[in-house]
């Protein structure tokens, strides 16, 4: 197979672009990239764009690690990465409501709210993670791919990959806050059994796997998305702390 001079060997890619190879193009024989590219050009659903974004994230990280490259390439890849992150973040976090209502402010069960509170404390360093009991509902069968996929999350850009890559401060809601530890620490314990939450229980909280997918869209392709945003969490926390 002819390889462009100086380019790393990428068998999955050279296939569709080598000259003189007659190929049929049934959809089921197409490479995933080709299909995704077509989807992107046709402005498909956000989920397919998200998949494409994740593919590009992996590709981009590979490009950084393969060989020294020109500054132009580094800047273009970095800007593309930032754009992908931005798009994925926007897709995960719907726009905040215009007029906050009580039912929107409190869409969580006490249990799940408690879980978030604990997670926030972990994030803020107020709680140790090692002593947390495992979540029984977080079984490998329920979400077998999430944790493994999460290991592919790139390290913070600029810190270890390339000195010229822009470093973005990890913020709540961005995928930098995701980690295996963060997902694994979700626990079902109800620490506020005395609080009557019947008034605010509206919808069942999605399963941890769905929750994980909503936070870590970068590492889970097929999970449903949770309709939730961080401003609501802040308000919930204020109410819970006040009580």
């Amino acid at each position: 197979m002819i390889q462009p001079p100086g380019l790393p060997y990428l068998p999955s890619l050279c296939g569709p672009v080598v000259a003189g190879v007659k190929r049929k193009h049934p959809d089921d024989h197409r490479g995933p990239l080709e299909v995704e590219a077509k989807k992107e050009s046709q402005e498909q659903a956000p989920s397919s764009r998200s998949n494409l974004g994740q593919t590009l994230l992996r590709l981009s990280m590979d490009k950084f690690q393969l060989r020294p490259q020109s500054l132009l390439r580094q800047v273009l890849i970095t800007n593309t990465l930032n754009y992908i992150k931005e798009k994925m973040h926007l897709e995960r976090t719907p726009a905040p409501p215009q007029e906050p209502r009580l039912e929107l402010l409190l869409p969580l069960t006490a249990q799940s709210a408690n879980n978030f509170l604990r997670e926030l404390e972990v994030i803020l360093g107020l709680r140790a993670t090692q002593d947390e009991p495992p979540d029984p509902s977080w079984s490998p069968a329920s979400a077998p791919d999430v944790s493994s996929d999460c290991r592919q999350i790139p390290p913070p850009l600029g810190a270890s990959v390339c000195p010229s890559v822009r470093v973005e401060e990890p913020t709540l809601g961005s995928f930098e806050t995701m980690s295996n530890r963060y997902l694994g620490d979700l626990v079902p314990d109800d620490f506020f059994p005395d609080i009557d939450t019947s008034d605010v229980e509206r919808d069942p909280w999605p399963s941890p796997s769905a929750l994980a997918s909503s936070y870590g869209a970068v590492c889970s392709l097929e999970q449903p998305r949770a309709e939730w945003d961080w401003t609501e969490l802040d308000q919930i926390l204020e109410i819970i702390k006040g009580s």
């Binding site: 462009p4 890619l13 000259a19 590219a37 050009s41 974004g53 020109s70 132009l72 593309t80």
Partner: protein, 456 residues
């Protein structure tokens, strides 16, 4: 746009192109060092220089008409070959410096000698090309080999005479402009004052005097204080052909900045910013990469600028900053393949572009050894192929067509069959005639319009 031959002067738009010459080997295995990395005609078109990844420069000269060989006029024969740059190692930064010739620029001819600048990533060199067809004979104190004679053997004095000899072309390095760039040099451009030139790297542009090697003036510096804030780099730059105070540089974000050196010594603040507003609905993951400008060229008149990005060529009027006056699609059928092209790195290819002598036609390269021409007057365009197999000497080139889908005509090529390893990145157009030079990997194709070809 219709697929009609283009390329002639105004009023004679339809031009049939034919292969005039082909230089290079037919070997299937191409040595990396033999890959041509730049092509440049001199100001008269008499000389054509190529640089390659092995650091060599080959100069071709157009042969004068011969009575014995009426077809010989117009042929570009090898005039001189020399090693311009050698691989180096920066011990302070532990970085290899490739010998690859990034750009060649000819200086306007001032005397019998020709001069050119060549550059790799870091060092620019000024070369002088001179001819010698006579040699002095009959020295009193030296013998024929140049050794001093024994004075006791000198019994009479004679007047040395010049005797004809086989033409010898001498190329000698006149200046070496080193240590002026921290990043990789992407452009050099000789000023119309014929005394200065500029060199641009990813983040800075320096102004040099052609006679001074140890000092340059930094005229543009876009390096941020913190490199983590870097989001844009310089991709190309050029001096205005007539106004020695004006120059333009392009960026990876698709913008052009016209700078006036009279305004300030450091031209960080541009005089004009040429930028096309982006339609947010068309934005995709690859928008920024494909909008990065890979080449910018002033028209010969100085009124327009030609830019090439990944999918288009654009003509800008210096008097209109808001959008290009003309946009031509080079290979729009690749828009749906951008993900694959990102994966195989082709999306980072830097295609060059060129004007014809009258600024009425523009040319740029594509994949599969295709190159495209766009007639600005008739709005016709054509796709031609630089290929040994499909172009016989002096036979008219057949326009090629890429089939995206639907009905496929005979000789059409499917977009899925394009060879992305064969790409025309470097092209040059003779300053006055319809002669074009196309670099295709290690081969240099020279095409000429049929009329010109038959005359000669």
């Amino acid at each position: 746009m219709s697929q009609k031959p283009v390329g002639g002067p105004p009023g004679e738009e339809e031009v049939d192109w034919c292969l005039y010459q082909l230089n290079g080997t037919t070997e299937f295995e191409v040595s990396e060092a033999d890959i041509i990395s730049t092509v440049e005609f001199n100001h008269t078109g008499e000389l054509l220089a190529t640089g390659d990844k092995g650091g060599r420069v080959v100069i071709f000269q157009r042969e004068p008409e011969s009575k014995n060989e009426p077809h010989s006029q117009g042929e570009y024969n090898v005039y001189s070959t020399f090693q311009s740059h050698e691989p180096e190692f920066d011990y302070l930064k532990s970085l290899e410096i490739e010998e690859k010739i990034n750009k060649i620029k000819w200086l306007p001819q001032q005397n019998a000698a020709h001069s050119l600048l060549s550059t790799n990533d870091k060092t620019i060199k000024l070369w002088k090309v001179t001819e010698r067809d006579k040699r002095p004979e009959g020295y009193n104190l030296k013998d024929e080999e140049g050794k001093l004679k024994d004075l006791s053997t000198v019994t009479s004095l004679q007047v040395p005479v010049l005797k004809p000899m086989d033409l010898m072309v001498e190329v000698s390095p006149r200046r070496i402009f080193a240590n002026g760039h921290t990043y990789h040099i992407n452009s050099i451009s000789v000023n119309s004052d014929c005394e200065t030139y500029m060199s641009a790297d990813d983040l800075r542009i320096n102004l040099w005097h052609l006679a001074i090697t140890d000092r340059s003036f930094n005229i543009v510096d876009i390096k941020p204080a913190n490199m983590e804030d870097l989001t844009e780099v310089i991709t190309a730059s050029e001096f205005h052909p007539n106004h020695c105070n004006l120059f333009v540089y392009s960026s990876s974000k698709g913008s052009l900045r016209l700078c006036d050196m009279r305004a300030s010594a450091l031209c960080d603040k541009h005089s004009k910013l040429f930028e096309e507003p982006e339609d947010p609905s068309n934005r995709s993951f690859f928008s920024e990469i494909i909008s990065s400008v890979s080449d910018v060229k002033f028209s010969h008149s100085g009124r327009f600028m030609l830019t090439r990005d990944y999918l288009t060529v654009k003509v800008w009027d210096l008097n209109m900053e808001t959008k290009p006056i003309e946009t031509y699609q080079v290979h729009d059928y690749l828009r749906s393949k951008l993900c694959s092209l990102y994966e195989n790195d082709c999306i980072f290819d830097k295609f060059e572009c060129a004007w014809n002598g009258s600024d009425s036609v523009i040319m740029t390269g594509a994949y599969n050894n295709f190159f495209r021409m766009f007639d600005r007057n008739t709005k016709r365009d054509v796709t031609l192929e630089a290929s040994r197999e499909s172009s016989k000497p002096r036979a008219i080139l057949k326009p090629r067509r890429v089939c995206v889908g639907g009905k496929r005509r005979k000789d059409d090529i499917s977009v899925d069959s394009l060879d992305f390893t064969k790409k025309i990145l470097h092209t040059a157009w003779h300053p006055a005639e319809n002669i074009i030079a196309i670099a295709a990997t290690n081969n240099l194709y020279i095409f000429q319009d049929k009329v010109n070809s038959e005359m000669h």
